[in-house]
C-alpha cells in the first residue's frame, strides 16, 4: 500500500489543494522529478511517462521531469534493483540536493515482485536507499503514481535545508 493518507483517492480536489499548499511551503511551488529505472520491465516507465500526457498533465501541479539528479527534489524509482544498477542508484541518490524524497513505483520496487529470487537481483529499493512512499501495482496507474508523489510530499519528514 502507499503510505497512509488522510485523503481517500476519491477526494481528489481536496488532495490537490492540500498538496499545492504543501508544495508551495517546501519546494516553492514546484517539484522536479528524476526517474530512474533500476530493473523494471518498461511498463512502469510507460505509466510514469503518461503523467506528462494531456490526460494527467502533472505539470498543472507544479511537477516536472528533470534530466539531472542534481536538479531533482524527488527520485521516482521503478523496478527491482539489479546488481548492475545498485551503484548507479546510489550515485543518483547521492547526487541529489537535500531535502530529497524517494518514491518506489511498482511491485518490483516494493519487494522484488516475481524477480526477487533471481541471483542477479539485490532486492527492493529500500534495501539500497531510504524510501518515502511506496506505490503498489503492476504497473501502477498514472493516478497511483501521482498519489504516491503527493503523499511523499505531504508526509515528508521534517528536515532543515542544512541537514
Amino acid at each position: 500500500m502507499t503510505t497512509e493518507t488522510h485523503h481517500p483517492l476519491g477526494d481528489w480536489e481536496q488532495l490537490e489543494q492540500n498538496t499545492a499548499a504543501a508544495l508551495r511551503k517546501v519546494f516553492h511551488r514546484s517539484i522536479y522529478v528524476r526517474h530512474i529505472d533500476v530493473g523494471s520491465c518498461n511498463a512502469c516507465e510507460s505509466e510514469i511517462l503518461a503523467l506528462s500526457n494531456p490526460y494527467y498533465n502533472f505539470h498543472r501541479l507544479g511537477l516536472f521531469f528533470t534530466p539531472s539528479p542534481r536538479h531533482a527534489d524527488l527520485l521516482l524509482v521503478s523496478g527491482v534493483v539489479t546488481r548492475a544498477m545498485k551503484d548507479v542508484l546510489l550515485a543518483t541518490y547521492n547526487a541529489m540536493p537535500r531535502p530529497r524524497l524517494v518514491v518506489a513505483t511498482g511491485v518490483c520496487a516494493l519487494h522484488g515482485g516475481i524477480f526477487r529470487n533471481s541471483s542477479w537481483v539485490v532486492g527492493p529499493v529500500d534495501r539500497v536507499i531510504p524510501v518515502d512512499a511506496w506505490v503498489p501495482g503492476c504497473p501502477p496507474t498514472p493516478y497511483a503514481v501521482l498519489q504516491g508523489i503527493l503523499s511523499a510530499v505531504q508526509h515528508r519528514p521534517e528536515v532543515s535545508v542544512c541537514e
Partner: protein
C-alpha cells in the same frame, strides 16, 4: 551437485528422444550457415533463425538452433553437445547476428566460441566499461547513461565523435539482466506465464502469446479458433498503443510538442480501452493457457469500435500533419539509415527491417492473421531511415485497425469469413491444426509471434507436462540492438541521436531479460 544428478536421471528418456536431433557443434554451426545465410546478395535467406544459443538440458549446456522455412513454415531443431573443453566454433564469424548471444553464452556457460570476432563480456556492465574504438586527434568520448534524460530505460552508450560527427557508438545493455530464463526453470506453466508477461512490459501479449504457443506445442494441444482470434486481437491492440507511443516519442525527439501530446493522448485512450476490457492497461493476464478472457464481445463491440474510430481519426490527422511539416520530415530523412545488407547480416526483424523494404513478418504465415485481412506494410521509399520507420508504423497502424475490426466480427459472429480477398497470394501454412507446422523433440515447444517490435520467440521444454525444464527467450529487440550502433554512426551527428533512438523504439528489458 546432487540436485543436478537427480535432474539428469529424470531426463534420460527425453535424452533418448533427442538422439536423432543431436549433432556435433561444428555440424550445427555449418547447418545454420547452410540454411540461413544468403547464397549471394540477390537471394533471400533460405530459412529464418528463430533461436540460436544454449539450453541447460539435461545437466550440461548444449547448443540449440531452431530454424524455420518462411515458405512452408517448417521448423527444424538441432541440438549439439559441446566438446569437453567447451570450445565450440563461432557462428558469429560467419554471421554477425549471432555475436551478442555468443558473448552471453561464453560468459554464462563458459562455452568458448572459437574465432568470435569481438569476444568481450556483455553481462555485468558495471564491471566492464566499454573502451571505445576510435583513436586520433580530435576524438571526443561522450558517455551517456545508464541514467539519462527523460523517462527511459537504463542503458549505456559510448559516443565517439569528431566535432559533431558520430564516428562510433557502442551501446551497452544488460544493466537490467534479471535472468528470467533461469527463474522460469522448475516453475509451473502458470507461474512461468507470469514471468513471460514481464519480460518486456510493453510487449506483454507478444511474449505471453509466444510462451503459450510454445507450451501448447509441448503439450500437443490444439487451440480452439476462438482463442486464436482473441489472442490475435490482443496482439493488434498492443501494436496500436506501441506504435502510437513510438510515434509520439519520435515527434517529441523532433521537437513537435503538439504531435507528441496528441499521439500520447491516443496511446492513453487505447490503454484505457485495454484496461476496460481486461482489467489491465498492459493486457496482463489476457493471454491464457487454453482459455479466453471471458469478454462478451457482442456487448462491448460498439464501444470498442467507437474508441478505435476516435483514436484512428486523431492518429490519422496528426500523422498527416507531421508528414507535411517540413521541419519534422527534414529531421527524419536520411537519419539513422539501416543499410539493406544489414537486414540479412544481422537477421533484422520488425518495423526496422520492413523500413528497409524487407518483407520480414511472422504474421505472414499465420492463417488467423490472413483471415483478419493482414498484409505486409512496406514503405515506398525503402531507404531504411527514420522517415521510413515512421511510415511503416503509420501503415501498420491502419492494417491493425482493420484487423481488429475483422477479428471483432469473427468473435461476435463466430463464423469464419470465407473471403480473404486480395491477400490470397501470401503463403499459407501447410498445417491446419497448429500455426507452427513442425515436429519438435518430445517435451519441447516453440512459439513465434510478431510483436510490436518484431518477431518474439520462446523455446521451452516441459517436464511431466507441468514444470519447465528449460526456457529460452528471444525478444525482437535482441536482433536489432547490434545494428543500432551502426545506424547511429552511419553519417549522423550528435543531435540526431534522440531521433534515431525514438525511431528504432527498442526495448531494453526484452533484450536484457
Amino acid at each position: 551437485m546432487e540436485d543436478v544428478q537427480v535432474h539428469a536421471s529424470q531426463n534420460r528418456e527425453l535424452d533418448d528422444n533427442l538422439q536423432e536431433t543431436q549433432s556435433s557443434s561444428a555440424d550445427l554451426v555449418a547447418w545454420v550457415v547452410h540454411h540461413c545465410l544468403p547464397v549471394d546478395k540477390t537471394n533471400l535467406p533460405k530459412a529464418q533463425l528463430l533461436y540460436y544459443g544454449w539450453v541447460s538440458y539435461p545437466s550440461t549446456p548444449h547448443l540449440l538452433a531452431v530454424l524455420r522455412d518462411p515458405v512452408t513454415g517448417l521448423v527444424q531443431w538441432r541440438f549439439a553437445q559441446p566438446p569437453s573443453d567447451g570450445r565450440v566454433p563461432s557462428l558469429a564469424t560467419h554471421w554477425p547476428a549471432a555475436s551478442w548471444i555468443e558473448r552471453e553464452m561464453w560468459q554464462t556457460t563458459g562455452m568458448e566460441p572459437v574465432g568470435h570476432p569481438d569476444l568481450q563480456p556483455i553481462l555485468h556492465p558495471e564491471e566492464y566499461l566499454p573502451e571505445g574504438m576510435v583513436t586520433g586527434a580530435g576524438v571526443f568520448r561522450l558517455p551517456l547513461g545508464p541514467v539519462r534524460a527523460d523517462v527511459s530505460e537504463s542503458g549505456f552508450f559510448l559516443f565517439e565523435t569528431i566535432g559533431e560527427q558520430i564516428m562510433h557508438l557502442q551501446p551497452q545493455l544488460f544493466y537490467k539482466h534479471r535472468d528470467i530464463e533461469t527463474l522460469g526453470i522448475h516453475q509451473s506453466i502458470a507461474d512461468a506465464l507470469l514471468l513471460a508477461e514481464r519480460v518486456s512490459g510493453t510487449a506483454t501479449v507478444a511474449h505471453s502469446m509466444a510462451f503459450c504457443q510454445a507450451a501448447e506445442q509441448a503439450l500437443h494441444r490444439t487451440v480452439p479458433v476462438e482463442i486464436k482470434w482473441e489472442r490475435s486481437l490482443w496482439l493488434e491492440m498492443e501494436r496500436l498503443y506501441n506504435h502510437a507511443h513510438d510515434l509520439a516519442q519520435l515527434a517529441s525527439a523532433a521537437g513537435m510538442s503538439v504531435g507528441q501530446a496528441q499521439l500520447a493522448r491516443v496511446k492513453e485512450e487505447l490503454l484505457r480501452l485495454n484496461g476496460d476490457l481486461t482489467g489491465s492497461r498492459y493486457l496482463r493476464g489476457s493471454v491464457r493457457m487454453g482459455d479466453t478472457c471471458q469478454v462478451t464481445w457482442s456487448q462491448v463491440r460498439s464501444e470498442v469500435e467507437s474508441v478505435l474510430e476516435n483514436a484512428d481519426r486523431r492518429f490519422t490527422h496528426f500523422t498527416n500533419l507531421l508528414r507535411h511539416t517540413p521541419t519534422f520530415v527534414d529531421r527524419l530523412v536520411g537519419t539513422g539509415r539501416v543499410r539493406k545488407d544489414w537486414v540479412d547480416a544481422y537477421g533484422l526483424v520488425g518495423p526496422v527491417a520492413r523500413a528497409c523494404g524487407a518483407s520480414v513478418d511472422s504474421r505472414n504465415e499465420s492463417e488467423i492473421e490472413q483471415l483478419a485481412g493482414y498484409h505486409i506494410c512496406l514503405p515506398t521509399r525503402g531507404q531504411g531511415d527514420a522517415l521510413d520507420r515512421f511510415e511503416v508504423r503509420v501503415l501498420e497502424w491502419h492494417v491493425s485497425q482493420g484487423m481488429i475490426r475483422k477479428l471483432l466480427d469473427l468473435l461476435c459472429n463466430g463464423k469464419e469469413l470465407t473471403n480473404v480477398g486480395k491477400y490470397k497470394d501470401f503463403p499459407r501454412p501447410v498445417s491446419s491444426t497448429h500455426p507452427i507446422h513442425s515436429d519438435p523433440p518430445d517435451g519441447w515447444g516453440v512459439g513465434i509471434v510478431e510483436g510490436p517490435r518484431g518477431r518474439v520467440c520462446h523455446v521451452l521444454q516441459l517436464k511431466d507436462d507441468v514444470y519447465l525444464n528449460n526456457s529460452r527467450i528471444r525478444g525482437a529487440s535482441s536482433w536489432i540492438w547490434p545494428v543500432f550502433g551502426l545506424a547511429v554512426s552511419n553519417g549522423n551527428i550528435q543531435t540526431d541521436f534522440p531521433v534515431i533512438d525514438a525511431s528504432f523504439g527498442l526495448s531494453y528489458a526484452g533484450t536484457d531479460r
